[in-house]
Symmetry: C2
Subunit: 358 residues, 2 copies
């Protein structure tokens, strides 16, 4: 009889919905700081799209001096840039809002990171003769489309960027993830990568890029992906853009039962502006705070998360509430109470778990 | 360029912990009424065990007239029985207790069902000469062992059954699941199957069976798998045995946003005694109740769950609280408030989801 391995198996994506395909990255169980394709979170509004059966080409048109069509080969041969970038769904941690909100109940795993390689969008616009006067935004359309409950009719997934963000040298038209062609489920062959913005901006399966002279009001930026601070009215609404300063405790697990003795509290911290400068940990529900050790420093990789750890030696049995609070170089700090909004975007309150020492 | 399938992919197990391996069955996304090996929930206290490298043999000893050792081949050649049986972790739905309790935060998927084929335990005891006078319990030990936080030293996973349950003709020493050898992660080559009891009784990787003349007090029935109604004392404690009457809403999802129009509310109901006789659904938070249609009747398959559905036509937009309540032939009915207990076992309150019609 064969002897079986002791292995407990590998982590796998956590299903939130199958149609469309929405799954969390099991960050609590991943040792690696770069997330592989198999564990990269999936966030889809619609079914996966059908791509053209013929060769792929990318039109760049609208308010440019020389509307152009690029083949994939042409793009791959251009000077490229590789950046380690977090993609975080704006609905990450939606589950934790109180009062609770509707929509996919993402916990801590609607985010992943790795190396995206591509061509700056600004370079493509320059190759198309440059942007004409009067241009206001760059509109990026994907191949995916469909109808959500809040829509009256089917719509293509499309998003615009203001000119300054579109022309930022790190806004990429990416064709590789972690040294491989971008996996189909994550936008093959071309995906927009907008560092520091919530990932809704990073359009997958790019179909067309157009420079426009108006403010685009597609569903995915005028209806969805809008912060609505009021439950019953749209007063005070504003659009989702930059990632908030944030941190997550990844170990121990919430509600875990532990022995007395040494435990390593571990997690990640990230921000959409500047860099993480400090992560504090409290093991007594906020009465006392200690500084965690930042275990991966981010100098060049400024769009990636920082990992941190804190050694904890509880010698008394009982229940403990553990909190973490990150701060960034722009003096932004995680709030105690999250900014509640009806659709549940941008949750970044102090992270919290409870454990029991037995 | 290749055209890609529209498929949104398959459901997969939902990881709660990797070491040891604990994962939920994604019941919300499974169409089939019999759960395949790949989606069967996993509940382990320890690492997967090493099985003997030589041939497998099963000792049956203690208070029997003719202590015996059976080979796997001998067992497979005996007259067998195949039963469709639910295995439900006693901690299923632990996540929903209020106040919250510690331990793995199982939601609705710490249960699965399918066809178990094996030999009644009573037949093996008869082949071992029958039970001697003075016998009180039958002790079943698994190959898995280790130390949990609440233990002072490593212990083998072992459970006893009272004589009447051990001798019940449907208590099986199973060797097949869904017409295949039992998968290693679910107890290969032999697993005890105790219908109607929470699955902790269904010992995996059986190492030895002993008839004993005392009340066994191993960790897994004297410390764990005990209902402790008080937070701070052990007063009123009693052991986990029979499955409670229960139901789960599997569609829609909690906090889902839906269109107006027809929706099928679907789910399962099950009980550890008698049969499910009725499932009621409320779409107005308990003010009015309607009877759901039982879509799979359970006559012969009395240890399996009943599926049910209810057609709902909300025409007004807004938020709705949907409840379900199952009753069984022993007049047991799901309570409004669950029986709170410190370790979080046997949750069976009326199931509840909230949805928003947009």
């Amino acid at each position: 009889m064969a002897r079986y391995p002791f292995s407990s198996g590998k982590p796998s994506l956590i299903v939130r919905k199958v149609h469309p395909d929405n799954r969390e990255s099991p960050l609590q169980f991943i040792e690696n700081d770069t997330i592989g394709n198999d564990l990269f979170y999936r966030r889809n509004h619609f079914s996966y799209p059908a791509l053209p059966q013929s060769s792929y080409w990318l039109p760049v048109n609208g308010l440019v001096h020389r509307p152009s069509i690029f083949t994939l080969d042409e793009i791959i041969k251009m000077p490229s840039k590789t950046l380690k970038v977090i993609l975080e769904c704006a609905g990450n941690k939606r589950h934790f809002f109180e009062p609770k909100v509707f929509g996919d109940q993402w916990e801590k795993g609607a985010m992943s990171q790795g190396y995206w390689k591509g061509v700056p969008l600004r370079n493509l616009l320059e190759l198309a003769g440059g942007v004409k006067p009067g241009a206001k935004e760059v509109l990026i359309e994907g191949y995916d489309f469909g109808k959500q409950p809040n829509m009256n009719q089917p719509e293509t997934f499309a998003r615009s960027l203001p000119l300054n963000k579109a022309l930022h040298p790190d806004t990429l038209i990416a064709y590789q993830y972690n040294n491989q062609p971008i996996p189909f489920k994550h936008g093959y062959p071309l995906r927009l990568i907008v560092p520091q913005w919530y990932a809704v901006a990073s359009v997958k399966w790019i179909k067309q890029i157009s420079v426009i002279d108006y403010k685009f009001n597609g569903s995915f930026q005028a209806d969805d992906y809008v912060y609505y601070p009021k439950k019953e009215s749209d007063a005070g609404a504003f659009r989702v853009t930059t990632i908030n300063v944030n941190s997550s405790i990844l170990n121990p697990l919430n509600r875990e039962i532990l022995d007395t003795g040494k435990h390593l509290i571990k997690g990640i911290a990230w921000t959409g502006e500047g860099a993480i400068t400090k992560v504090e940990v409290s093991t007594d529900n906020g009465t006392n705070w200690s500084t965690a050790k930042l275990t991966v420093q981010r100098n060049q990789e400024r769009y990636a998360w920082t990992t941190w750890s804190y050694e904890w030696n509880p010698d008394e049995k009982g229940e403990y509430t553990i909190l973490t609070r990150a701060a960034d170089s722009l003096q932004r700090i995680q709030p105690k109470v999250p900014f509640w909004n009806r659709k549940g975007y941008g949750y970044n309150a102090i992270d919290q778990i409870k454990v029991k020492i037995e």
